[in-house]
Amino acid sequence: MEILIAAAAAVLQPHMLVIILLGVTAGLFVGALPGLTATMALALMLPFTFSLEALEGLVALGAVYMGTIYGGAFTAILINTPGTPSSIATTFDGHPMAKQGRALEAISVATIASVIGGVVGVAFLLIAAPPLAQLALRFGPAEMFWVAILGLTLIGSLATGSLLKGLLGGAIGLLIGTIGISPVGGESRFTFGWPPLQGGISLIVALIGLFVIPELLLMIRRGHATLETPADLGRSRFQFGAALRTVLAKPGNLIRSCAIGQVIAIIPGAGGSITSLVAYNEAKRWSKSPETFGKGNPEGVVASESSNNVMVAGSMVPLLTLGIPGAPPDAIILGVMLLHGLRPGLDLFTQTGVLANGFIISMGLAALMLIPVGLLGGRLIYKTILRTPHYYLVPTILIITILGTYALRNNIIDVALMLGLGVVGFVIRGLGLGAAPIVLGLILGTIAEQGYVQSILGGMALDFPQMRLFVNPLSQVLIAIIVLVIGWAAWPQNLRRKKD
């Protein structure tokens, strides 16, 4: 307790609050730009943090991280484009809301959900880090394989309309994921002898290509921007109270989404990309009126945005206690800690407790800071997008997208791949295939393959190496969940409901 008070005192300094404010603001804009990811923002900040004290550096990184994950929601809502992979699910209902002229409501709901998620994640980290870390360790290769399979079952419900088209999209995603150097064996696959393909097709490249480019092409075809201007724009405000009531009206959804966010955050390697998709899917499954999802139901935004912001602090659990980076940006935070001589482990919370707890508390403050920054920044971005004619908006977004894609790996090939996938995405969208199943297949295929091959290798001494996939209790629990999920979806009554 003394440590906590000392830590709070260290963070509640004026200059610290300024660092958090600047970090959150910068993060918000980076997150809102397609292609600029949290990982990239943190990497760019590295040299700058070396000149700061250890605590200041970590606080700055934490604030930017929190801001980026939240910033992704803006583009998701306003132009149907996830700014970061973790806000894919925000597009599902956030954008339909915007189309109905409820963009500010969607942004307010996303902001409040993000703040709650961020604070909940910090609370988990302060209170329950050691037991959560032990849980994280149970996820070995076999468990990761089953987690990926469980994730793939989401495709059934993410598919808009036809299940078959969803599965087809997932299969395309799995295939795209096999391009490049294989994650375990190290062979090059499907590079057709062309060295640049050794790096494979990065998730962000596919994400931008499949989401942004088709949206831009649609805007051009329609001849006007995606959003209609509400008649009372001048007077439209954030209905902050109304949005707060919307979020709190369904506490079950909020609690469930936060719990899902926390559990997925600690699974090393699953990362933030699927957190919001899983939470969204469960919100829809448990809702009494699942048919309203995808048509502008704020509950979908709540599920997505609360779960992905839990993940920011949530993924610090394995990082701070065990030195295991749960998501790519965590690797950079780990690097900074090590440079300052901070070794992850339980000692971090006792011996250097002021620092570790100060860092955690600052993330909570960063989450709270999202309210003013988000509401002001959100309004600014909203008005800018509304007032810009589409013949300026489309080229601007396209240029940002191309720059972002290039900056990702400093590779011009990625830009070509992104544009190519964009055209493919536009064509298949016309055929009724959504982008989400493809991206999900791409994310999960690699995780599943890695888990499968590592498990089989680990079982080499057994008579049937495949048995390695089934022997652990946690694997069996995951298999049982998968059976339940598929069974639930295939239950005749639910199938009929989906058709309606």
Binding site: T39, M40, L42, A43, L46, P47, F50, A136, L137, R138, F139, G140, P141, G180, I181, P183, V184, G185, G186, S188, T191, G193, W194, P195, P196, Q198, G199, G200, S202, P268, G269, P318, L322, G323, I324, P325, P328, A331, I332, L334, G335, L338, L339, G341, R343, P344, G345, R409, N410, N411, Q450, Q454, L457, G458, M460, A461
Partner: protein
């Protein structure tokens, strides 16, 4: 400042300029623009962190901007092949290189897109020696325990490491050959997932870099280190040589320019990296790094030795 001293300063500058013009590649006209320093891996790794530490020191010493850029993919191969076909050989574009990657990939992959000899190596500036690590409560107290178990139970001991045909993997193969044992090597994507693999008991042991052993502290037991002599930071850990196995190796990291870069510029950069090592060492030696300055013929010999040591495993 008096008028007189100002004019004498102008004269001095003029003389220097004339002198520089007569000798085309004098050190003074290099660098003439920003240095591009390419890191072929993801941010947050050892190569990246080192470059980020070097960046401000280089800017100060050279008086130009230094842009650290990431170009990850294919275990480094995407950046290396792009660099060899496109970089200007004038010293302004430098790239991070690692062993055994740049030796192993061109042997093992038909389409790596670059060659080991296509680089002019500035210097190998540090080394992270390999270590064998087990969880603190493992029954293996010593390397001998581990080898004995693996000898009696072929393939049942799993050994994790970063990647396939990487330093970790090749070192495991070498240990297997020298000790006449068979363990099952399980590749992970990088060093990041290895702590979870050890602590969660997903593998029996890990072949990794000394930095990981230092980072994980009391959670693990380090059975042996593949350096010539014991490390300052791990004084109680015996070397493989002490234990009777000729296993000396690790990941060397360095920087390179394209073939054909003027030798005096390579030399100047090598001096700079060696000089920066003194500052970096204060932070990095306690983290498990060994600072080195292997350049010129020695750098080439290092790779030749590596090719002899590991070549059989790669073909």
């Amino acid at each position: 400042m008096s008028l007189k001293s100002a004019s004498s300063k102008g004269l001095f500058v003029g003389v220097v300029a004339a002198f520089a013009a007569s000798a085309p590649v004098l050190a003074q006209d290099f660098p003439s623009r920003a240095i591009e320093y390419i890191i072929p891996f993801d941010p947050g790794g050892e190569s990246d962190i080192t470059a980020r530490l070097q960046e401000p020191l280089m800017q100060e010493a050279l008086g130009v901007n230094v842009n650290v850029r990431h170009q990850p993919g294919g275990g480094g191969a995407v950046a290396w092949s792009d660099f060899q076909s496109n970089a200007e050989p004038d010293g302004h574009e430098i790239i991070g290189i690692n062993t055994p990657h740049i030796v192993a990939q061109p042997i093992q992959r038909a389409d790596a897109g670059y060659t080991t000899d296509g680089f002019d190596i500035i210097t190998w500036f540090h080394l992270t020696p390999h270590v064998v690590v087990v969880r603190a409560d493992s029954p293996f107290e010593t390397l001998e325990d581990l080898i004995e178990f693996a000898g009696e139970n072929p393939q049942s001991l799993t050994m994790g490491g970063s990647g396939t045909f990487t330093g970790n993997h090749l070192e495991t193969l070498r240990l297997m050959e020298l000790a006449d044992i068979r363990v099952t090597y399980i590749p992970f994507t990088g060093t990041g997932p290895l702590p979870a693999a050890i602590l969660g008991g997903h593998v029996g042991a890990v072949m990794s870099n000394a930095t990981l052993a230092v980072e994980m502290g009391d959670n693990v037991r380090v059975l042996a280190v593949a350096s010539e002599e014991r490390l300052e930071t791990l004084p109680d850990v015996p070397t493989f040589l002490e234990l009777g196995y000729d296993v000396v190796g690790g990941t060397y990291r360095g920087v390179a320019v394209p073939n054909g870069t003027p030798a005096d510029r390579v030399e100047m950069l090598a001096d700079l990296f060696a000089q920066m090592n003194e500052t970096l060492g204060e932070r990095q030696i306690p983290m498990g790094y060994q600072m080195t300055d292997i350049r010129g013929q020695d750098a080439i010999d290092l790779m030749t030795r590596m090719r002899e040591q590991y070549g059989d495993f790669l073909n």
